[in-house]
Symmetry: C2
Subunit: 463 residues, 2 copies
């Protein structure tokens, strides 16, 4: 029997697919985009329906007590360029499910992907996992319809669980949010519902290069795929593609052992004295609530705002909700380098206020460059200029992708993979091999959501 990681690698090499080729996919997707609409309208915060601003604290909560809350957060990081601040933050303690169902057709694994609109998507429809459900969602607090295919993930007996791990989301905007990232393989017949399609991993990888198409939830689940099989199928050449594929194999040795990487993460987590405390939202300083938004006095970072959504093809047709609207397009750049013929990625262990466990591995550079107009010079991330000035010839991946459209309004990040030939050194950074990142992704709280997107992008370069 072919192992699941070999099946995954074979699927990554297949860009034809048993159901739709890529031109068919684009026609199908464009057709859906025509039928399906999501009208999102900015409304005053006081016009939120079913949501209340608590008089004592200023916190924004749902009448059911479920979904999520907008709280304040007090953040202390002694020694940091900005050692103390307060900010609004989304508090969503429920663990939702992000699940991709996979099944073999014609000897190739296909992934069941969903064309799904989200109110915060800049372009309405994006390609999401089979299932993307908060606990409130699937316990139907909102009284909506059933979540299709959910049962495959809630009761996995009789199926093969390929991955099942809770992963963090944006620690700058979410307080200790985790979602359960699952991949479940089935052999039985699966009914194909409207708005869903079967694609090979190779096809999904090609689509990653299309701006704002593969959504964040799909990308994080993809990053959790056991990807070691790419090593077996790699060529022996020294082209970039072969080198990346070989570096996904489990036998490849990096400049640091996994134990060394774990000890370095321990060290950063102990050295960084992050302490955070939820506070009433009206106690955040330098933020002001106006009719339409809670805004930082500089106009930077993000706003807390409110929308009214009218949608077709979603569980509930009309609703209002608060969202976070980031200011400016983010940048997430992963610098990679061949060392002894093995690809290494230069990752940073960095703290984000919403992380459960202080620090996680993040891209080489992760920031919103526009924010540095109002931040001290020391806050400028190391290697930002390297990323901004990378010559076109060194860029291996480049696309602008959206973050989660259910909580964030038009949240776009430029994801770039840059190959360099020089050694870089910094105590908060290490050179790690792609298969070491995949090894860490078997556990929670090691690789942040932006780095997970870049792991998925790096995997897309193996075939």
């Amino acid at each position: 029997m072919t192992s699941i990681s070999t099946q995954i690698a074979l699927s990554a090499h297949d860009v034809e697919g048993a159901h739709l080729d890529l031109p068919d996919f684009h026609r199908w997707f464009a057709g859906l985009a025509d039928q399906c609409y999501t009208h999102t309208r900015r409304i005053p915060l006081d016009a939120l329906d079913g949501w209340h601003t608590l008089p004592g604290s200023g916190d924004i909560v749902h009448a059911s007590g479920k979904f999520f809350t907008v709280n304040g957060l007090d953040v202390d990081i002694p020694g940091n360029a900005v050692p103390h601040w307060t900010q609004p933050i989304i508090n969503q303690p429920e663990v939702g499910i992000l699940g991709i169902l996979v099944k073999e057709f014609g000897g190739r694994l296909h992934l069941l992907m969903q064309a799904k609109p989200e109110p915060g998507n800049p372009n309405g429809l994006q390609l999401s996992p089979t299932v993307q459900a908060t606990r409130s969602n699937y316990t139907r607090v909102h009284g909506g319809q059933d979540v299709p295919y959910l049962d495959y993930f809630r009761d996995t007996s009789g199926h093969t669980v390929v991955a099942d791990v809770r992963q963090s989301e944006q620690g700058a905007w979410f307080y200790r949010k985790r979602n359960r990232n699952m991949i479940v393989s089935v052999s039985e017949d699966v009914e194909l519902l409207d708005g869903f399609c079967w694609l090979t991993l190779g096809q999904v990888h090609r689509l990653l290069l299309v701006d704002d198409l593969i959504n964040m939830d799909a990308r994080t689940v993809l990053s959790c795929l056991p990807f070691a099989g790419a090593g077996e199928l790699s060529g022996t050449g020294d082209g970039f593609r072969d080198v990346v594929a070989r570096s996904c194999g489990p036998a490849v040795r990096g400049v640091h052992s996994e134990d060394e990487i774990l000890r370095w993460i321990t060290d950063v987590r102990v050295r960084t004295e992050l302490s955070t405390r939820l506070i009433p939202l009206h106690e955040v300083r330098d933020w002001h609530r106006t009719e339409y938004a809670i805004t930082h006095e500089t106009g930077r970072f993000f706003d807390v705002m409110a929308v009214e959504v009218r949608a077709s093809g979603r569980e509930v047709r009309t609703w209002t909700q608060p969202m976070i609207e980031p200011h400016g397009t983010g940048l997430a750049a992963l610098v990679v380098r061949r060392i002894g013929g093995v690809l290494h990625a230069f990752v940073r262990a960095s703290a984000e206020p919403g992380f459960l466990d202080v620090a996680e591995l993040s891209p080489t550079v992760q920031c919103t460059p526009a924010n540095f107009d109002v931040l001290p010079a020391a806050a400028r991330p190391p290697f930002l200029d390297l990323a901004l000035n990378a010559p076109a010839s060194s860029i291996r991946f480049d696309a602008v992708l959206s973050e989660e459209g259910g909580r964030f309004f038009h949240p776009r990040t430029r994801y770039v993979i840059i190959e360099v030939d020089e050694d870089l050194e910094h105590p908060d950074f290490r050179w790690v091999v792609p298969h070491q990142l995949v090894g860490l992704l078997r556990h929670s709280h090691y690789v942040n959501v932006q780095a997970r997107t870049l792991v998925a992008c790096l995997h897309s370069l193996t075939s």
Copy 2:
């Protein structure tokens, strides 16, 4: 060069030692116990010096704002036998260092152990790691003396870091407490200070069988030793010792793969809807503050009490502090079984209110049996009767050992390893191989402190 895990296994086989044989050790230790004293006297809570009860909240805090705080905790676990309760808890967010220095003498690794009194030890002196220091300790908030050997752990350059991982402590008594468990190997000369001795791992293993000798901090560090080398040195026989040793080797396959174990832990962590909230100490219900203690109305569980300590051989000679005094001796039993010639331990994934991440692997049975007089029948742990009624012929390890004597007053637990021949099944339990537990111990938050003691005890049975 011999790998560190082989060196560790060789040291485990050596019960002679280059410095002290075991009779010498006992004489040396008894001599120290005669000279060194710790007088601990129970005092009224209001007689605490340097500690205050905050008027608003009833919380007990140190004047410096450092060390630790006694807070209240509100615990919700829907579906649990006791679904909701409140309790006092020790809140100590600082990450301290528990470190053992190791060095080769005569071709054998020796561990630098310290004879150290703690106010809560029932017998004064116990054998502790080389370094056992809170951050307040080593940044000298208390104005005491330097912590000997600390620099080896604060600056490891030039040495070999054998282990460095933060691990949780008692989740029933501590709120999200973690200590950094470190093992550092040095080759340079090390001055041997009064109160310290070099022992082989084999000697330490023998001493684990002595009641109240190897302290909790030493046991948790021991559990983090890379122990795979025992597999190489094991005999081929089917005696218990050989089977345990072989099952420490990395190549041995268990009934579950490591990925399956990780997915099961994810599942338990998602299924268990633990939510906790720090509350003012005076808001805990069913607990009453009297002159000498904060006590549960049933007289069970534990008291918060206060002591005055007069000690020789400690950084500060006289001080007062609050402590937790558990009622009754705890039981921590690990049921093991040979499956296909490989030893498996039956571990439970269970929630404790103070855990950072919901649930960790715990012994088969972990409880204070006396508490069940006042708890609902459904709260009685599975397999408790099996552990209590185990025939003598099935018991492979049995000792009463102390928990941390710096925060807990006379906290004793009977640690037992029981071999069975029957299959046991329960959704919250899995059969795991010792080397899988050691693999998990490279990460934080997987194996709780009682299970870590039992890992160290299990390792002691390999030679």
